[in-house]
């Protein structure tokens, strides 16, 4: 395996990794950066547990070769949490809404769900229930049954608007 240096922005910080570019972004995040919030479910783009944002768009990090993120902006669940902390909250309002709506059971799908939601709410601050379903259609949950997740997302949209939550540091162009 030939390794190469890959430089990118990770949760707002410029980072470099010396790695096999065929390593998936998922494994790069988990093994090199110790960011364990991003989960590996199916490993083949079918479950959405590994969802992160690349240049502001939700992608399956298990399908993205590390070489592809050269020069890009990658945003993970840890970035979302840090955003909450930086505002003096315990977590991001999105995470709070998930917890309070009972949208988390085993929790394995939750980071991916939240990243898909985050991308949705960046584009559309007042999504309809249909738009919410569409946005999380690439994320599987095997315990909650989706209803509470959909409610959490609609609730989160309300809270973000009420709090005028901005500074979305995702680099979407």
């Amino acid at each position: 395996m030939k390794e190469q240096v890959i430089a990118f922005e990770l949760n707002g910080e410029t980072v470099e990794a010396y790695t096999d570019p065929a390593l998936s972004l998922l494994h790069l995040l988990r093994s090199r950066f110790n960011l364990l919030g991003t989960k590996e479910g199916c490993g083949r783009g079918e479950c959405g547990a590994c969802t992160v944002l690349v240049d502001g768009r939700a992608v399956n990090s298990c399908l993205v070769p590390a070489g592809k993120v050269q020069g890009r902006k990658v945003y993970t669940i840890e970035g979302v949490t840090a955003e909450g902390l930086s505002r003096g909250a315990k977590v991001h309002p999105l995470q709070e809404a998930f917890v309070e709506s009972g949208a988390v059971q085993c929790g394995f799908c939750t980071p991916g769900m939240i990243m898909s939601t985050y991308a949705l709410l960046n584009d559309n601050s007042s999504p309809s229930p249909e738009e919410v379903k569409e946005a999380i259609s690439g994320n599987l949950c095997r315990c909650s049954g989706y209803k509470q997740i959909e409610e959490a997302i609609l609730e989160a949209a309300q809270r973000l608007k009420a709090q005028d939550w901005q500074d979305r540091n995702t680099g979407k162009t």
């Binding site: 570019p21 768009r57 070489g67 946005a135 690439g138």
Partner: protein, 290 residues
């Protein structure tokens, strides 16, 4: 493995030439880990020449690097190539559509790739660039060598864009698929059609079904049945029968039994042609700028 993200076509051609056949072109790369990894990859997904959606009066040009999400959201594609917008909305999941490209959907050569099915129904041609700078245009349905094998050699050719005739007044197109779930699900059958009317008579039609052979497949007999006709209530049963009878379907463990697929071919062919026809009729009434 080496992975090179190129920022223009000259760099892409140079990287491919230098590798002497070892490097492969990659764009969205969403299927990369599902197969054997090549030793060198040239990532063309950010080359600006491949990202345009341009409309002339006679020709709609859609870059091969346009993502499925980008195509589905494009106002021009939604208006002038509606089947393509509909098909792109159905590929994979939002996460996959955000990164997977139209060019990849075709060169990956899966037999029921949604966007490819729509492109064939719309009569799209692919424009290919070779390493000596030469261009060739090939109809999308002629790009399939076998199941999951394209005639495009991605070590020495780059698919640049698709060219198709934009919808005119009196013309409509549509795409439909049938799958066990609404997202993240392989289609059991998918279908697309393009219909042009003169008065109430069908003046031109392309109807396509997949997966029944390596490439999205034209329903020649069904098209013949409808061409020059004025469809009425009694037409649709014959369309369903003719479409189902003219293709040879196989059952597959991955999708469904041959019997079920045979039934679906007829039903989807009828529904998609009818939908395209309804849109053609609506467009004659105007109001949408066609």
């Amino acid at each position: 493995m080496s992975y090179t993200v190129v920022s223009n076509l000259d760099q892409a051609v140079e990287a491919l030439a230098k590798s002497a056949g070892k490097a492969r072109v990659v764009a969205g790369a969403t299927d990369l880990f599902l197969g054997n990894l090549p030793s060198e990859l040239v990532d063309i997904s950010t080359v600006p020449d491949l990202l345009g959606i341009n409309r002339d009066p006679d020709c709609l040009s859609v870059g091969a690097g346009v993502t499925h999400a980008g195509a589905a959201a494009s106002p021009v594609i939604r208006l002038k190539a509606e089947a393509l917008a509909e098909a792109c909305r159905e590929v994979g999941s939002p996460q996959v559509r955000n990164i997977s490209t139209l060019g990849g959907n075709v060169v990956n050569a899966a037999p029921a790739a949604d966007a490819a099915v729509a492109l064939v129904a719309l009569g799209a041609k692919a424009v290919l660039l070779d390493l000596s700078g030469g261009h060739r245009e090939v109809a999308v349905e002629d790009l399939y060598a076998n199941y999951n094998l394209s005639v495009v050699d991605s070590s020495s050719e780059i698919l640049l864009r698709f060219l198709l005739a934009p919808a005119v007044r009196g013309e409509g197109s549509a795409f439909l698929r049938f799958a066990p779930r609404e997202a993240l699900s392989l289609p059991l059958v998918n279908a697309a059609a393009r219909v042009r009317l003169k008065g109430n008579t069908i003046e031109a039609i392309r109807a396509v079904i997949a997966p029944v052979s390596p490439a999205p497949t034209r329903l020649n007999e069904t098209e013949k049945l409808l061409l020059g006709s004025k469809p009425g209530q009694d037409t649709w049963r014959r369309v369903e029968y003719t479409a189902a009878a003219e293709v040879d379907v196989r059952g597959s463990m991955l999708r469904c039994s041959a019997e079920y697929r045979h039934h679906l071919v007829g039903v989807l062919a009828r529904r998609v042609i009818r939908k395209a026809l309804e849109r053609a009729l609506d467009s004659k009434e105007g109001g949408d700028g066609r």
